[in-house]
């Protein structure tokens, strides 16, 4: 396979999950994320001739995506004429006026935890992208989408023991890939 070339037919299978998750943690809205990702693919198609092959296809698409996300926020803010600042003012009708009742619940996830989990999700997807495509797809179907064994076996025309071998290999590579930062 030639390195650093573009294959738009493969983009969705290879990168959609990563790009989508990258976007959704930043815009927090499924529909908007969908729009941004498809805009990214289209922008990629339109500027294929500008691809110099210095970066990988993946990096290139991510850089387009980043610009699209910035564009989205710019457009959003300029429409209102100013940046939106959300503040939560306590309503005196609500329960819990005592200060003690307003103290953050420690069992709640902190923003930092949430951020770490998002990073983790992206790291997992990035590692999965390094596996071969069939392995990654089957692993994602089984583990993330939770599709049952029989359905996957039928779709790929493999036996259950084949499936377990594939999943086992995928998990081993994934663990190795995550080892440095997350284990």
């Amino acid at each position: 396979m030639q390195e650093n070339s573009l294959n738009p037919e493969k983009w969705v299978d290879r990168y959609a999950d990563y790009l989508f998750n990258y976007t959704i943690v930043r815009v927090n809205d499924r529909e908007v994320a969908n729009d941004i990702v498809s805009e990214t693919f289209l922008a990629g198609l339109n500027s294929m001739k500008n691809f110099k092959g210095e970066a990988s296809e993946r990096t290139w698409l991510i850089s387009i995506l980043k610009r699209k996300i910035i564009d989205y926020y710019r457009k959003n803010n300029s429409a209102k004429g100013q940046a939106e600042v959300k503040m939560h003012f306590p309503n005196s009708d609500d329960e819990g006026e005592w200060l003690e009742e307003k103290v953050a619940d420690l069992s709640d996830m902190t923003a930092e935890d949430q951020m770490e989990n998002r990073e983790l999700g992206l790291a997992i997807l990035e590692c999965l992208d390094q596996l071969n495509e069939k392995q990654a797809t089957i692993f994602k179907m089984k583990t993330i989408e939770g599709i049952d064994t029989e359905t996957i076996c039928n779709e790929f025309d493999i036996t259950p023991s084949n499936l377990w071998v594939i999943i086992h290999r995928a998990r081993t590579s994934l663990a190795k890939c995550l080892e440095k930062n997350w284990f």
């Binding site: 738009p8 037919e9 983009w11 969705v12 299978d13 959609a16 999950d17 989508f20 998750n21 959704i24 499924r30 969908n34 990702v37 498809s38 693919f41 289209l42 198609l45 339109n46 294929m48 989990n117 998002r118 983790l120 999700g121 790291a123 997992i124 997807l125 994602k140 089984k142 583990t143 993330i144 989408e145 064994t149 023991s161 377990w164 071998v165 999943i167 086992h168 998990r171 994934l174 663990a175 995550l178 997350w182 284990f183």
Partner: protein
């Protein structure tokens, strides 16, 4: 002797049962044989624990997959865009 062989599990088999167990698809007898194997085999025990950790990491990450429908929409858009540009 035959009964003993039935109880034994090679490391490769143990790994496979380990994986299945993470998806709650290992049988009762398999799980029992795995427990037995883990008693004697340090390597598999480490693997088993790592595997558990991986599962919890994946769960924690809470990845939002694109649905296959959404992917089809992307593909159709790319196809349309491609025919326009070429």
């Amino acid at each position: 002797m035959k009964g003993l062989n039935l109880m034994k599990l090679s490391c490769a088999e143990a790994a496979s049962v380990c994986t299945k167990a993470e998806y709650k698809e290992a049988g009762l007898f398999e799980k029992w044989r795995l427990r037995l194997h883990l008693h004697f085999c340090r390597t598999c025990k480490d693997y088993y624990q790592n595997n558990k950790k991986l599962s919890s990491l994946i769960k924690k990450a809470n990845i939002t997959p694109c649905s296959s429908h959404e992917k089809e929409v992307f593909k159709a858009k790319i196809k349309n865009g491609n025919s326009k540009t070429s």
